[in-house]
Amino acid sequence: MGGKTWMRGIGRYPFLYLLALPGVLFVFLFSYVPMYGILIAFKEFNIRKGVLGSPWVGFSNFEFFFTTDKLLLVLRNTVFLNLLFIAATTCCAVLLALLLNEIRVKWFKRTAQSLIFLPYFMSWVVIGMLVQSFLGGMHPTVDGWLESLGIAPLNWYYEAHLWPWILTLIRVWQGAGYMSIIFLAAVTSFPDEIYEAARIDGASRFQMMRRITVPLLVPTISILTILAIGKIFNGDFAMIYAIVGDNSMLYPTTDVIDTYVFRSMRVLNDFGMAAAVGLFQSVMGFIFVVAVNALVKRYSQDSALF
């Protein structure tokens, strides 16, 4: 298409382009302008001197991060936690969808769905408050339950090794119901004829679930999993910071790239290093998403993101 043709297009429908303008400007200001700020990663940033005025320092902002064991730690935590979240949430969501599909009593099904979907609407701060209320304090509520089961109480906020599992449980509480609705929507779209034929052949409900529903659901599961893996370098800042906060006892297992960047910036005021780590993450994330998308495309054209 020549430049002239689209110029004439704008002339004919100016309103269409005017409509896009505010949105385009918003995206430019809040998403593209910060990309220019990436330069900070290569500078010894000084707020008074600004981005352009600060002296160039090459890759020295990256050096600190790459030469200490910090990189390995936060990278490992980010990936490990995300893998745990993906595995646990997906398994629970699939199981919930399969079992909800077995329930024929309408009111029970609807009530159960409402209840398991509700946590998704809570902010991470609210969840953080609940976690702290039930695991913290002088006599943690959960400890009371453990004692009645004959298990010794724990000082939760000192036991870093337990937190990946606690966070996973919280994640399942918050997200499995939401995800199960996506799977349930897929399950209800499967053709009745297959089930009818299986019933005539004398298949039990469990056999139908295992031999028909699960195999048919595999593409949806794979796509959602692959897409989630595309975002594996993005630590969930909102979740982890709301729950763990500045509790340094738990950093060894819960500090992810995003919380590390936040701290470097707000606590250490090391803008250059924080920007460098952020850039490293953005680049890794970008490469991963594009690679994963290529993979999805080969597998199923329709499910690719772009």
Binding site: W6, G9, Y13, F15, L16, Y17, L19, A20, P22, G23, F26, V27, F30, S31, V33, P34, M35, Y36, G37, I38, I40, I47, V51, L95, L100, E102, S114, L115, I116, L118, P119, F121, M122, S123, W124, V125, V126, M129, L130, S133, F134, G137, H139, T141, W173, I181, R205, F206, F237, A238, A242, G245, V261, F262, M265, A275, G278, S282, G285, F286
Partner: protein, 292 residues
């Protein structure tokens, strides 16, 4: 049809597992409600329980008189209302433009928006943009403007606008309607369901957001609800900030009780609106999963 033994077991297992999981989802909320009604001394000694012991409404009595809580409620309402209207206006216009075949730049604009979902400048440049270049620190604009265009929601609307039959616009054009009238009087009225869905998404994003607050707000009198809660999580004593001076607290401020009551008050509107929210969210999910 005769239910076999295996089928009956399947049904029983389904009911059992779903009931357990639903209870798992519900229990924290029950503990919260009950905690907000339990006497402070009991909370300190025994922790939270499913049913309130020593029922009292002290926390709510204090919160009702708390100017600080009322102000932050107002701030959250203002941010949510303004943000939702702004986000909906800007996103719907952008989406309509991208979805329209007469727009010759639609692929370019679409990619321009999409790219921001793949790559971003990161937290540091964003922080410097808002606080140093735009000088929006400690303003509510910093909590509203950056969230106004959510690419995911824009594309949700694009996929809806694509389903609007072209004949509708054609008919309008034949009747002599301009592009503005076609959009405002023909397309928008039939788009109510998607506008409602996306509007609720925006409302939820603004109501629940605290990340912008933690980055850009330091003055406590500008804190929205989530920030008040956030402060209470990081500092147990912060609950006392909500107690008005004339509230007549005898010995000990009911800190634990206030924390739960404030949490409940914060999620209140979401729970009240939940039946509507749920319906539209499921709808949005199904549209979105067709192809975002």
């Amino acid at each position: 049809m005769i239910a076999t033994k295996s089928d009956r077991m399947m049904t029983a297992f389904s009911w059992g597992f779903i009931t357990l999981f639903a209870a798992f989802c519900l229990i924290p909320f029950l503990l919260m409600v009950s905690g907000s009604l339990t006497d402070e001394q009991i909370l300190i000694n025994e922790g939270y329980s499913l049913l309130p012991k020593g029922l009292n409404f002290e926390a709510y009595r204090i919160l009702l008189q708390s100017g600080a809580l009322l102000r932050s409620y107002g701030i959250t309402l203002f941010i949510t209302a303004t943000g939702t209207v702004l986000g909906l206006l800007v996103s719907a216009s952008l989406a309509y433009s991208i979805a329209n075949r007469r727009n010759r730049l639609r692929h370019a604009i679409s990619f321009y928006v999409y790219f921001t979902m793949l790559f971003n400048g990161g937290m540091v440049p964003f922080y410097i943009l808002i606080s140093n270049w735009l000088k929006l620190s400690d303003t509510l604009a910093a909590l509203i403007l950056p969230l106004a265009v959510q690419p995911f929601l824009v594309f949700l609307m694009v996929s809806f606008f694509r389903t609007v039959p072209e004949e509708l616009e054609e008919a309008g054009r034949i009747d002599g309607a301009g592009e503005v009238r076609i959009f405002v009087q023909l397309v928008l009225p039939i788009s109510k369901p998607i506008l409602a869905t996306v509007g609720l998404f925006y409302a939820l994003i603004y109501w629940n957001d605290w990340f912008m607050g933690i980055l850009f707000l330091s003055e406590e009198n500008k804190f929205p609800l989530q920030m008040i809660l956030r402060r209470m999580v990081s500092n147990l004593e912060a609950a006392k900030n909500l107690i008005p001076s004339g509230a007549g607290i005898a010995l000990q401020a009911p800190t634990y009780q206030i924390r739960m009551a404030t949490t409940l008050v914060t999620i209140g509107p979401i729970v009240l609106l939940y039946p509507v929210l749920q319906r539209y969210f499921v709808k949005g999910l199904t549209i979105g999963s067709v192809k975002g």
